[in-house]
């Protein structure tokens, strides 16, 4: 099958989802109203609550939610063949992610911009909100550990990406100085920054940096993991304008350029997909598609992390409630497109089926390395760039995504540790709290061996934790919809499905960790399993309560049913 057809069908499905299903959600389910006074206007403070143009807000929202996860998940999951991954990404985006992200925005906007954590205390109960904190902590831990391994692996497998990866930091620091100290015009700085980044990619391609087999007694991968954590620690404690802000900015621009290059190449070249639609010949030891597919691809299909962003920052900046459709739903579509690009790169970027099978020789193999190689081959064929340069471009793109998520993750986890310290009456400074985060993350990464493989082993656990978080958000949405006597099935079906696959996957993994004697992951698995069961019980109780409670009515809602003013943009 030609990948152009797959891309066409996928894009058409997602766009149709936006045009049709999100319209239905906006009008009938959430009843978005252009006349509703959003928190951005009601609580406008020039800091958190700022009415923002919907295209710019979409840019913020999309770049905040898009990390390495929508690349890593699909790049691993195509081991079951391209069709299951394709269906889960497209249908998941349309019926799960879009509904969830738009819903989280709506729920927050209808509650003065409160976060999902606060809403969980209101709709699910105090226990629900504590559960939320536990899940967030585990999620951050897994993101930091897994992304360090992903980046280290790429730096070793694509040595041409080393120079642009670290050089991008220098570019970011210089951009920060040019904007704040020299007051240069932003469009000019942006153009120079992007040009410098691509110049570094060209330079890196000429001068690959290959580390010796052991550095300071560590393997090359382990060495990069330690360096990455040290970098994340320093970056997360620097003033944000020095590094994080300009780096996030340039990375956002790079995301749009990278996606444009990839889809442009598919359009020009249209490579054939060599991987089977459904792989009947999976390598030994590959777990069953059901339920692992649905937790391996979390971001790109449905991701609880999006709910945090939606309700944390985006909801506070929504100019009109009807903009939620574009920002929330179309934000999910953006991430779905990234995941679809990853599926195409990892199934159509190989010359023959044998080449593909060689890469996907065991579960967990392929991954982001296959995205870089496969996507590189497509860029090479579509745009005529040399293969090595194409791979360097994609490796740098993946590394920069993962690195931005990682240092933000370390920063956020530091806040969580400081909060826990406050709870037990210990005041933790920035340095001590960051050191604790580093020790815990490094401990998890090296738990399965000195090669840092512990970081990748937990990837499906990341998926399940993320899905449980999505379940928590969906249960809040379901309760809100029941209390407003609105159609509840659009929230209930995804809720039941994600909780079912999460618990199923956790039980299967539990057996595996027990057989392997991997006690650390076993303990983590049990904690997450308890959290999942807890969500189910709390959600069921809250839903039962909501059915019998007095119906809620929004203050701007007319008494008769079905006259919401949503969908107008």
């Amino acid at each position: 099958m030609n990948s152009l057809i797959l891309a066409g069908i996928g894009v058409a499905m997602m766009i149709a989802g936006y045009l049709l299903y999100s319209r239905f959600l906006g009008r009938r389910v959430y009843r978005l109203s252009a006349s509703f006074r959003t928190p951005a206007h009601e609580l406008q403070d020039g800091v958190d609550f700022v009415p923002t143009n919907k295209f710019i807000l979409w840019g913020h929202h999309f770049t905040s939610v898009a990390g390495a996860a929508p690349i890593v998940g699909p790049a691993i999951a195509v081991i079951w063949g391209w069709l299951p991954a394709f269906l889960w990404v497209t249908l998941g985006t349309v019926f799960f992610a879009g509904m969830h992200d738009l819903g989280a925005l709506w729920a927050s906007v209808r509650h003065r911009g409160q976060s999902i954590g606060t809403l969980s205390a209101r709709y699910i109960g105090a226990r629900g909100s504590r559960l939320f904190l536990v899940v967030i902590f585990l999620l951050l831990l897994m993101v930091n550990a897994a992304f360090a391994v992903v980046i280290a692996g790429l730096l070793v497998s694509t040595p041409t990406a080393v120079l642009p990866t670290w050089g991008a930091l220098v570019v970011a620091v210089l951009i920060g100085q040019a904007i704040y100290r020299l007051k240069w015009s932003l469009p000019v700085v942006s153009m120079i920054g992007v040009a410098a980044l691509y110049g570094l990619i060209l330079l890196g391609d000429r001068f690959p940096v290959v580390l010796p087999e052991t550095v300071l007694g560590l393997s090359a991968t382990s060495f990069w993991i330690v360096v990455l954590f040290l970098y994340a620690a320093v970056a997360s404690t620097l003033p944000v304008w020095v590094l994080l802000q300009p780096r996030d900015y340039i990375n956002g621009l790079q995301l749009f350029i990278g996606l444009g290059l990839l889809y442009g190449s598919v359009l020009l070249f249209g490579p054939s997909i060599v991987a089977p639609a459904v792989n009947a010949n999976v390598p030994e030891g590959t777990p069953g598609l059901m339920p692992l597919l649905f937790v391996t691809i979390a971001c790109g299909a449905i991701s609880g992390f999006h709910g945090i962003v939606s309700s944390g920052t985006s909801a506070k900046q929504l100019d009109k409630e009807t903009d939620a459709r574009f920002v929330g739903y179309f934000g999910a579509v953006g991430e779905g497109l990234l995941a679809l690009g990853a599926i195409i790169a990892t199934t159509a970027g190989f010359r023959t089926l044998a080449d593909w099978e060689e890469v996907y020789s065991a579960f967990g193999q392929g991954g982001v390395g296959a995205f870089v190689d496969g996507g590189g081959a497509i860029l090479n064929a579509g745009l005529g760039l040399p293969t090595s340069l194409s791979s360097t471009i994609l490796a740098t793109m993946a590394v920069l995504f993962a690195a931005t998520t990682m240092d933000t993750g370390v920063r956020l986890q530091r806040f969580v540790v400081q909060e826990i310290g406050d709870l037990v009456g210990v005041k933790l400074g920035t340095v001590v709290a960051t050191a604790i985060v580093l020790v815990v993350c490094l401990g998890l990464t090296f738990s399965a061996g000195a090669d840092g493989s512990g970081g990748m082993l937990i990837w499906p656990l990341f998926g399940t934790t993320n899905q449980i978080l999505a379940g928590l958000t969906l249960s809040i949405l379901a309760v809100m919809l029941v209390r407003r006597r609105r159609p509840v099935l659009p929230a209930l079906v995804p809720l039941v499905f994600v909780l079912f696959v999460s618990v199923y996957a956790l039980l299967i993994q539990l057996g595996g960790f027990y057989r392997d004697g991997n006690w650390l992951l076993l303990v983590l698995d049990v904690i997450i399993l308890v959290a999942a069961l807890w969500v189910i019980v709390e959600a069921a109780v809250a839903l039962r309560r909501a059915r019998t409670a007095e119906p809620d009515l929004d203050e701007d809602e007319p008494a008769q049913v079905g006259t919401g003013g949503g969908g107008r943009e």
């Binding site: 020039g46 800091v47 958190d48 700022v50 923002t52 143009n53 295209f55 710019i56 807000l57 840019g59 913020h60 905040s64 904007i179 015009s185 932003l186 469009p187 942006s190 003033p239 944000v240 304008w241 994080l244 802000q245 300009p246 996030d248 900015y249 956002g252 920052t313 900046q317």
Partner: protein, 103 residues
């Protein structure tokens, strides 16, 4: 100038005006994209700075010896960066300090 040349010049001016408007819109959009995610962080930093300033002023007023005055001379180089803009904001065209001529 002939009529045709005048029309051409007007068209060029219009195009340049439209380009300027677009460039400004692009700059505004990029600026919003740049600062938006970090508004809160900067507001917090600003508040911390204000709190420190308030504490120093209040302690002076209450007769508590100001611990900062001992270090003030050392802090002068840090202040110099914003000194020029400060004296302009204060309505002084030229630097009021004999020993520090920034303009």
């Amino acid at each position: 100038m002939s009529g045709a040349a005048g029309a051409r010049a007007a068209a060029v001016r219009r195009a340049a005006g439209a380009l300027r408007t677009r460039w400004r819109a692009l700059a505004e959009g990029l600026h919003e994209f740049y600062v938006g995610p970090y508004r809160r962080t900067f507001a917090k930093a600003q508040r911390d700075e204000d709190d420190l300033f308030r504490m120093l002023v209040m302690s002076e007023m209450l007769g508590v010896p100001n611990p900062a005055s001992y270090y003030t001379a050392e802090l002068l180089p840090v202040l110099y960066d914003g000194f020029h803009e400060w004296h302009r904001r204060m309505g002084m065209e030229r630097s009021p300090l004999e020993e520090y001529r920034c303009c």
